[in-house]
Amino acid sequence: MGCTMKYLPLICSALLRRPTETILTFLAVTAGFILFASMMGLNVTYQRAIEGAREDRLIVVSRFPATLGGLPIGLEERLRSVPGVAAAGAWASVCGHYGAEQQFTCIYNVDDGMQAAFPFPIDPVDWNLLMNTLDGMLVSRKAAQAMNLRVGDILTVAVGAGVRGDGSNSWPFKVIGIVPDSPEWRHGYKVGNLKYFQNNRPLELQGLIGGFRLGLTDSDHVNEVTRRIDRFFANSGTPTQSFSAREDAANSYRSVVDMALLTRLVAGAGLFLIVYLSANVIARAVQERTAEFGVLQAIGFTRIQLMALVCAEAAIPCLLGAAVGTWLAAMLTTVPNRWLPAGVDIPEATVSSAVFGAALGAAAVLALFSSALPILMLWRRRPAELLAAS
């Protein structure tokens, strides 16, 4: 306590010697850490999405995806009999535009097996209602809010030519319930009845669906089951390609651009900006107060104590800037999407306690880096030389 009281006035006077400079340094550091925390937070969001995707759930699709076809529904029973598979569900998507603004949407149509293989957070009553209503569709809260859908509404999706058997381009779905969201579907989901999909397909495409989702008995044997399935169907008319839900999540983030690399690069640029700025400010402050350090050394301050003073002077704006910058990044997570044009979407950054810790750690390292040169300068000069500088 006594020690703190001894140093505190010195640090405060150093910081308040040029208040404008201190405030501007703090603001620059804050801006740098907003970027750092946003980018690290974005990385956490991606990592969590990948880790949140189940390793013990498999997705099976056609190895050679056809334009309108896919895999025969008949494979479902065979997939259920593969050792290691606990449950299987079939799906097919109806994608197209809706509304006056021609927004894009997809309805994920499933069969009854899906609730065991890849469960949605839907209660049994709603699920049974969906399975018993051909043109029904359950919409999660997030999707319902985004599309302004309510129970009883009809959503008509404009689909491509040849998708429907009757030659029509319109595929109507009736909202029969609003259900809870699932973390696996970032923008919410709309789930329909696979029978409705199949009944409306052209004759030559009936029985062909998008793919299957499988629940496994044991998550330790994912690769084994994957290989078993793909080998089993390799020489059939419909070879398959299987992968875990986690692999699918990782691929979806990698397929646009390597987001992990991009976020780290940008965060690095932010830190580089801060380190050079704060190093310059500290170097200038130490240079201007060389004589003051000489006096302090003359009245008994050790070199180590002087180094600690310089470090503290650098650390305070850095740590404060990191804390405020990270807090602001946490407050601003939804801003990018409000600012971005329609149809462009960046996931919300997860500014977790780990990100906060990383920011503070980075700030401490930056403070050390920033004060390294001034410390070296002080270290090399004797008290008499420091005093002579006045």
Binding site: T20, E21, L24, T25, L27, A28, V29, A31, G32, I34, L35, S38, R63, F64, P65, A66, T67, L68, C95, G96, F104, A158, V159, G160, A161, G162, G167, N169, E204, P239, Q241, F243, A250, N251, R254, S255, V256, V257, L262, L265, V266, A269, G270, F272, L273, I274, Y276, L277, N280, V281, A283, R284, P336, W339, L340, P341, G343, V344, D345, I346
Partner: protein, 373 residues
């Protein structure tokens, strides 16, 4: 003189602006590369026909009858042999071997494809032969998916060898493998095409061609200019990367702006004696303020040049892939100019207040300060 003094603080402005411009141009190189690839692969006389309401080539299905009917459409150009230059194409996706992400597309083309792709050139090996299970690979796919001439690709009917590599002026086609359409459809048991590429008599013939299609709703197809189609296909990604670049650059610029303000205040303070002397000699407020502003702008421009050169050296010409389209990242002059405009703004705004302080320095107080120091 002002620039030469205190090079350390000058470097703060230079490197700060270099960071802003460098990061912005690096991210924008994706946007520019995608747009360039879209434009390079397209000819203004080409039109692409897709199924009505199809979300893209992959989701489009066009029957053989429709394809044949399109040969009769008005405005369609004819070759020296008198046949309409129309190519019914088929697209087959497959997972690239050794890659957990991305999709590789095999495009089946007919013998009329070549006049439609004027920049098409075989760079290694030879072209596939019709009727035989052979492929040619685009240089983009070659670079990204580690393919080479002599490799084989597994398709439904077995292994197809890659017999040659081609370029197409940096266009979208370079991301794909090419095969004979008839052989590919037989192999994949497809009974329809994905798209029809049409050479028109002139770019102006598009309207007549489009009208004819609209007046034949039974065809259930829509026509679009090829360049417009490619640009529309990548529009959401170009918007995403542009927005991301400007979002990141805005935050970095705010940091650089505060840094610039800090440095310029320091530089004005360090030059108090010089500024006071100039004012005693009769220099007015405007030249002194301008000297501060120009100093900051020049430092920012040096920073912008460093940032642009770094972005160009690190990213320009590098192959990248965004959703199955390989392309070369491109640091374009247009975006470099945008980067320089940002740099000038940072320099100007970051030195405005220090410039005001410089012209408001009281001469007597300034003299006292300089005498004491």
């Amino acid at each position: 003189m002002g620039l030469a003094s205190r090079p350390g603080s000058a470097l703060v402005v230079v490197l700060g602006v270099a960071c802003v411009v460098g990061v912005m141009l690096s991210v924008l190189s994706v946007t520019a590369g995608l747009v360039r690839a879209s434009r390079s692969g397209a000819d203004s006389r080409n039109a692409i026909v897709l199924a009505t309401e199809a979300l893209g080539e992959g989701a489009s299905s066009i029957s053989r009858d429709t394809c044949s009917t399109l040969l009769q459409a008005p405005g369609v150009a004819h070759g020296p042999d008198g046949r309409a230059i129309v190519d019914c194409e088929v697209l087959q996706g497959l997972a690239p071997r050794g890659f957990a992400w991305g999709m590789l597309f095999v495009r089946g083309v007919g013998d009329h494809a070549w006049p439609l792709h004027s920049d098409f050139k075989i760079v290694t090996g030879r072209l596939f032969r019709p009727g035989i299970h052979e492929l040619a690979v685009g240089v983009g796919a070659l670079a990204i998916f580690n393919l080479k001439v002599g490799d084989t690709v597994i398709l439904p009917d077995g292994e197809w060898p890659i017999v040659g590599a081609f370029s197409s002026g940096g266009g979208v086609l370079e991301s794909q493998l090419l095969a004979d359409a008839a052989t590919l459809t037989a192999s994949t048991r497809a009974n329809s095409f994905n798209s029809v590429l049409v050479r028109l008599e002139s770019p102006d013939a598009f309207e007549a061609f489009e009208r004819w299609i609209e007046h034949n709703p039974g065809l259930a197809v829509t026509a679009e200019r090829q360049a417009q189609f490619y640009l529309r296909s990548v529009a959401s990604f170009t918007r995403f990367f542009s927005s991301l670049a400007f979002f990141i650059a805005t935050i970095l610029a705010i940091g650089a702006l505060f840094g610039s303000l800090n440095v310029m205040y320091g530089r004005v303070r360090a030059r108090t004696r010089e500024i006071i002397t100039l004012r005693i000699f009769g220099f007015g407020a405007l030249p002194i303020a301008l000297s501060v502003l120009l100093e900051a702008i020049l430092l920012s421009l040096v920073g912008a040049s460093i940032g642009a050169v770094c972005a160009w050296l690190l990213f320009n010409g590098r192959h990248s892939v965004v959703v199955n389209t390989t392309f070369q990242l491109s640091v374009t002059p247009h975006f470099v100019v945008v980067g320089f405009a940002w740099a000038i703004t940072i320099g100007l705004v970051g030195s405005l207040l220090p410039a005001l302080r410089a012209v408001r320095l009281p001469i007597t107080a300034g003299l006292r300060e300089t005498t004491m120091s």
